[in-house]
């Protein structure tokens, strides 16, 4: 019979993980759908009873989102405007039922190309904290996500948090999701943006696209092109070519490759336009 561990202590969890391979479970919203069986399959390490892993905290180094923090926790939290895109994503992902238990770190660990968390976190220069009994290491998110449904986590490592440097939360975030229906939908494409502005110009841009490559990806060429521009000029600066060079979409049942590039381009334009509108409204 499969074993099921639900420690209350992180050290115990790491000890267990160091002893034998275990499937780490938190919200279980990605684990159960992989089976039609009545129980979780395999040997399980359930981290939801470890109190220290849940919550969003700020210290001198920056923000820390614990591994057991749910989408609903993020959606409800009082966070600076730089997190606005992440919070929009938190309120869009799946359904209320999914948001109430699903975790953002679990979303990263599943590493689906269409995961809603990664693009937003990429715009926040997020990293991932991995702990084992031997060591703690921190990987930039783009280093952690190594491919479609692949991560750099070793079997004995537990992802304990995603970390966001305080410097990366400046400006305002925005999230644009495109799917074939309103709720409970896997994205065809999505764009996350975070813009810093001053004196009507873009002083810094972070833009990432999801569901258009094996892992979500930032668009450094576009970010450079946008920096320094007056805000209203931003959408028309977004060209398909600036977007396409970093993407490698697939043809699948939801859309074809060319469409995804077109859609990503349009979503970035809309994100910029929506941020501009918000900025003008606030002014």
């Amino acid at each position: 019979m499969a074993t099921y561990h639900r420690p209350t202590d992180l050290t115990e969890a790491l000890d267990l993980l160091g002893t034998s391979p275990l499937t780490v479970a938190a919200g279980c919203t990605d684990l159960y759908p992989t089976t039609q069986a009545k129980s979780l399959q395999g040997d399980i390490l359930d981290i939801t009873a470890i109190a220290s892993l849940r919550g969003i905290t700020l210290d001198g180094a920056g923000w820390r989102i614990g591994a057991a923090t749910t989408w609903a926790d993020i959606g409800r939290a009082d966070l600076p405007p730089g997190f606005a895109g992440l919070q929009q994503a938190a309120r869009e992902v799946g359904s209320v039922q999914i948001q109430n238990v699903g975790t953002i770190v679990g979303n990263l660990c599943t590493a689906s190309p269409a995961g809603d968390g990664a693009p937003c976190l990429l715009t926040l220069d997020a990293s991932v904290e991995l702990r084992s009994t031997a060591a703690t290491r921190v990987l930039a998110l783009h280093e952690f996500l190594t491919g479609a449904r692949q991560t750099a986590a070793r079997p004995d490592e537990l992802v304990t948090a995603t970390l966001i440097p305080a410097s990366a939360t400046a400006g305002t975030g925005q999230f644009e999701k495109l799917g074939a229906r309103r709720y409970l939908v896997i994205s065809i494409a999505m764009a996350a943006l975070r813009l810093q502005t001053g004196a009507g110009r873009i002083t810094g841009a972070a833009i990432a696209i999801g569901a258009c490559s094996p892992t979500a990806t930032r668009l450094p060429e576009l970010e450079t092109a946008l920096t320094g521009l007056p805000l209203p000029d931003a959408p028309r600066t977004v060209t398909r070519d600036l977007i396409a060079r970093r993407l490698d979409p697939i043809d699948d049942i939801r859309a074809d490759r060319d469409y995804r590039i077109d859609a990503a381009t349009e979503l970035v334009r809309r994100g910029l336009a929506n941020l501009t509108v918000a900025k003008e409204a606030a002014a």
């Binding site: 159960y32 009545k38 349009e266």
Partner: protein, 908 residues
């Protein structure tokens, strides 16, 4: 190695239970199977449907995604906790608004809404949509559910039961609604007597293969399970909905023709079954090249008696279509392709079988109890009298439950083991193995004269009927009869072929092929209206069939209501066009469009008998019993048929007791399909009610105008000053245990089609038309439907609440078919890759019910169930065209296809 399960303490609805359960088990499974709280439903086991929504410390969660360990120490609330024996305020609002049709999603909807209402007592419509966005409903189109949640505070009383003689037309709550909102309804998976064994099937992972089964005795001994294969089937291992085409084995013998086909069943107690690894079952597969669409010929014929893979052709011809097209002023032509579409009933197939003496009882979801009985008897080698079908409440139907699914398998298991045997399909199993809507490849051409009068039409369609016959013949015959739409088409030639492939078996799905053909005809009508310079609605009105006109089958129509439907849409159409025009006057990425499309649909079997028999009886104790044999899969037959019977007899609805379509208790009312039940069974109910009334009146020498009054065991008949009392308890008990009873059969008068498809295929038709208003994002290709105005001619409206529910649900299915639904065998066997509309995808729906009485239907009634789906997709496609110029030629109109069509229309 087994170790004792951990003991977990669960507090559910305030009561603490101790259960022994593995900590990783799904909470939904523990609630249902261990605590026997069957109100929580399981639709997908993947968080995609929300049917299992329960509250955990007040938060809505999917029970199927919650390890029971997470629920320990938490406050768990289920539908059973919402009220005691009587419905609470939210449940009453559901009943008042007709928010529960089949009821399978109701517990999940109620719990999700409860969580919302506690946090937000006066929510907006948008807040309700978001809160319920994680629960799928396939019946209602969501509008009435949202209305109910918004109306909970009003807590108005249920409308009074209608008076004698006023049942038909009353906005009556469904008579069988309370158990659906209380969570006490018994669906196929919900009856589990002690000693029940579970049944699972071993299924083909290949679309085509031969196989040999290994040492099952060794495997089953090791697994503590029993295994049965085709060799164990005592009867003829072949079934089919149409006996002449029967071709489907209950368990494949050596060859599988489609993915998911069963080759064996495994039977064991629940604990053993949950621990079994069915992947270890001893079978060796030899996959064969498969063809799942019509692009390539299958490597070998699917069936030896159909060497060219042709199941059947349908054909209708009148006049000389080619000659008329050659001389037509305007012609338009189109090729169009539609996808496999899945019924996506929220309830996966489920049922239980047991032996009662020598009788095999099968309680399962079904739309066709007597057909199930006959086919199970044939497969299991039993006389029909030894098989009893007790329909379970069905969690959705739409045609999916017109075929056998698990009935012969659980029947076999019960016969072999002597124990009750239950089978509950997984979502993947349900999607892989049940029938689909036929994918269609259609070519059509229509011509009209300079005034816009349609002169001719040709239609040629290939329909992928999949591996087995199922209802393919019905679809192929119905298509050419209907492809003209409800329009005068003096010269006409329509051909349809149902072709086999290794794809999923295509069968019955709301509309039987007509939703596909209507798309082609309606797109071409827009082309021709444009060419002739006519308003699109007026073009249709000009050509609409009127009383006395002949259909393409040569049938002279009576009670044709399409003109009335179009007239009712004139004002909404003008308003919509003006609104879209004003919006589009400003430049922008978003363009608005308006489309109109129509339907007609013949009710009942095509030129073949399809009788219903209804019995009404009074017992010596004063019970008024209606044997209502029409399977109610949510559409409301239990309510509508009772309303008709009540008015025919002259006693109030409230006094009726219903006995359902149990084959041991109730005469055959045929299958719930083809929009026939309110018409055919309704007419039988009317005749039975009238016959019982005549019997009563003749015993009292009262005239036709006499009033009946049932008071306990006294039946009082009065007219003017006259009064006569029948003491029911003094009468001798006669047939079927009744002291007074009547039984009447009605079979619609039809005339079979000749070699040119000429005849009188249906006794009654229904008509409708929809106006769709939408906007298209021309940069993303996304479509948002804002509003559907639906006009339907029902002949006589039996129950407006139920009728609106049918319209709204049909619109939802039509919208899904138009914009998002596409089934790929082996790739979309779940409800996150196969998308159906959610609360957030539905437009406002305005329903206009029209009553142009049919001379044949009971009290003028026409059918409605299929009609409501047919015009939606073409109205949407025509509105997309109006908005953008994009001509879609393949469904679904996913964003990438719409964007490509927009670009093609601009020549870029």
């Amino acid at each position: 190695m087994n170790r004792p399960l951990e003991t977990i303490s669960l507090t559910v609805n305030g009561t603490t239970h101790t259960v022994a359960a593995a900590p990783g088990r799904r909470l939904s499974d523990v609630l249902r199977e261990d605590l026997r709280l069957f109100g929580t439903k399981v639709g997908c086991d993947a968080g995609d449907c929300g049917a299992c929504t329960v509250l955990l410390n007040g938060a809505a969660v999917c029970g199927c995604l919650t390890p029971v360990s997470h629920a320990e120490g938490a406050r768990i609330e289920t539908v059973e906790g919402l009220s005691t024996s009587d419905p609470g305020p939210l449940q009453r609002a559901f009943l008042r608004h007709g928010a529960a049709q089949c009821g399978i999603c109701s517990p999940g909807m109620l719990m999700a809404a409860t969580a919302l209402l506690r946090d937000t007592p006066g929510p907006t419509r948008a807040q309700v949509e978001t809160a319920l966005g994680g629960v799928l409903c396939r019946c209602t189109g969501y509008a009435k559910i949202i209305d109910a949640v918004l109306d909970v505070a009003a807590d108005r009383p249920a409308p009074a039961m209608p008076d004698v003689g006023h049942a038909v037309g009353a906005r009556l709550e469904r008579l069988d609604g309370a158990p659906k909102v209380l969570g006490t309804e018994i669906y196929g998976a919900d009856h589990v007597p002690p000693g029940t064994l579970e049944v699972r099937a071993i299924r083909s992972p290949h679309h085509a293969a031969t196989f040999s089964i290994g040492d099952t005795a060794a495997w089953s001994g090791k697994a503590s399970a029993q295994v049965f294969t085709a060799a164990d089937i005592p009867g003829e291992n072949c079934y089919g909905t149409i006996p002449a085409f029967a071709d489907q084995p209950a368990l494949a013998e050596s060859r599988v023709r489609q993915r998911g086909e069963a080759i064996a069943i495994v039977v064991a107690d629940r604990a053993t079954m949950d621990g079994l690894d069915l992947d270890g079952f001893p079978v060796t597969w030899a996959p064969e090249p498969a063809s799942i669409d019509l692009d390539t010929e299958p490597a070998r014929p699917l069936h030896d008696n159909r060497p060219d893979n042709l199941l059947i052709r349908g054909f209708v011809q009148t006049g000389d279509a080619d000659a008329a097209l050659a001389t037509a002023t305007h012609t338009a032509s189109l090729e169009f392709e539609t996808a496999y579409v899945e019924h996506a009933c929220v309830e996966p197939e489920a049922g239980i079988a047991w032996l009662d003496g020598d009788t095999l009882c099968i309680q399962a979801c079904t739309q066709a109890p007597v057909m199930d009985r006959d086919d199970c008897a044939r497969v299991l080698g039993l006389p029909q009298t030894a098989v009893r079908i007790i329909p379970a409440a069905a969690g959705g139907g739409f045609g999916a439950k017109l075929d056998l699914s698990l009935q012969p398998l659980i029947g076999l298991a019960a016969l072999k083991t002597g124990r009750p045997c239950r089978m509950v399909y997984t979502r993947a199993e349900s999607m892989a193995t049940t029938t689909k809507r036929h994918p269609a490849r259609m070519r059509a051409r229509i011509g009209c004269d300079a005034d816009g009068r349609v002169a001719a039409m040709t239609f040629d369609g290939d329909f992928n009927t999949g591996a087995y016959a199922s209802w393919g013949p019905t679809v192929a015959i119905r298509i050419p009869v209907h492809a003209s739409g409800p329009f005068r088409t003096p010269n006409y030639r329509a051909k349809a072929r149902a072709m086999h492939s290794n794809g999923p078996t295509s069968g019955a799905f709301r509309g039987f092929g007509v939703p596909q053909t209507a798309i082609v005809q309606e797109i071409l009508y827009d082309d021709l209206a444009g060419a002739a310079g006519l308003d699109r609605l007026e073009f249709r009105r000009l050509n609409a069939l009127r009383d006395g006109d002949r259909t393409v089958c040569g049938q002279k129509l009576r009670g044709a209501g399409i003109v009335e439907c179009l007239d009712a849409l004139r004002a909404p159409w003008a308003r919509a066009l003006a609104g879209a025009g004003a919006f589009n006057a400003a430049a922008g990425t978003v363009r608005r469009g308006v489309g109109v499309a129509t339907c007609w649909y013949g009710c009942g079997n095509t030129g073949l008998p399809n009788p219903s028999t209804v019995r009404i009886g009074l017992t010596a104790r004063g019970a008024l019993v209606l044997h209502q044999g029409a399977a109610d899969v949510g559409q409301g037959a239990n309510t509508a048929i009772t309303q008709i019977a009540a008015d025919a007899l002259g006693l109030p609805v409230a006094q009726f007791t219903l006995v359902g379509p149990d084959t041991a208790l109730t005469p055959d009312c045929g299958k719930t399909s083809a929009s026939r039940q309110t018409f055919v069974t309704g007419k039988a109910a009317m005749l039975a009610g009238q016959a019982l009334r005549r019997t009563i009146l003749s015993q009292t020498n009262m005239g036709d105008g006499a009033a009946l009054h049932l008071d306990g065991t006294r039946l009082i008949v009065s007219e003017g000053q006259g009064r006569h009392e029948i003491g029911l308890c003094t009468l001798p008990i006669a047939e079927n245990g009744y002291v007074l009873s009547a039984e009447q059969t009605y079979d619609p008068p039809t005339r079979g089609l000749d070699e040119n498809g000429q005849g009188e295929p249906y006794a009654v038709y229904g008509y409708g038309a929809h106006v769709a208003e939408l906007e298209v994002d021309t940069a993303l290709g996304t479509t948002r439907v804002h509003r559907i105005t639906a006009a339907h001619d029902l002949g006589r409206v039996v129950n407006p609440l139920l009728s609106e529910g049918q319209v709204e649900g049909g619109v939802a299915q039509g919208l899904g078919m138009a914009l998002m639904e596409e089934y790929f065998a082996g790739r979309t066997e779940n409800l996150h890759d196969y998308l159906i509309p959610t609360t957030g995808d539905m437009p406002r729906i305005d329903t206009i019910l029209i009553e142009k009485p049919d001379p044949e239907g009971p009290m003028g009634v026409k059918g409605l169930g299929e009609h409501v789906l047919i015009p939606t997709a073409p109205a949407i496609l025509n509105a997309i065209r109006h908005a953008t110029g994009a001509r879609i030629t393949r469904l679904p109109a996913l964003p990438h296809r719409v964007l490509a069509a927009i670009r093609a229309s601009h020549g870029t």
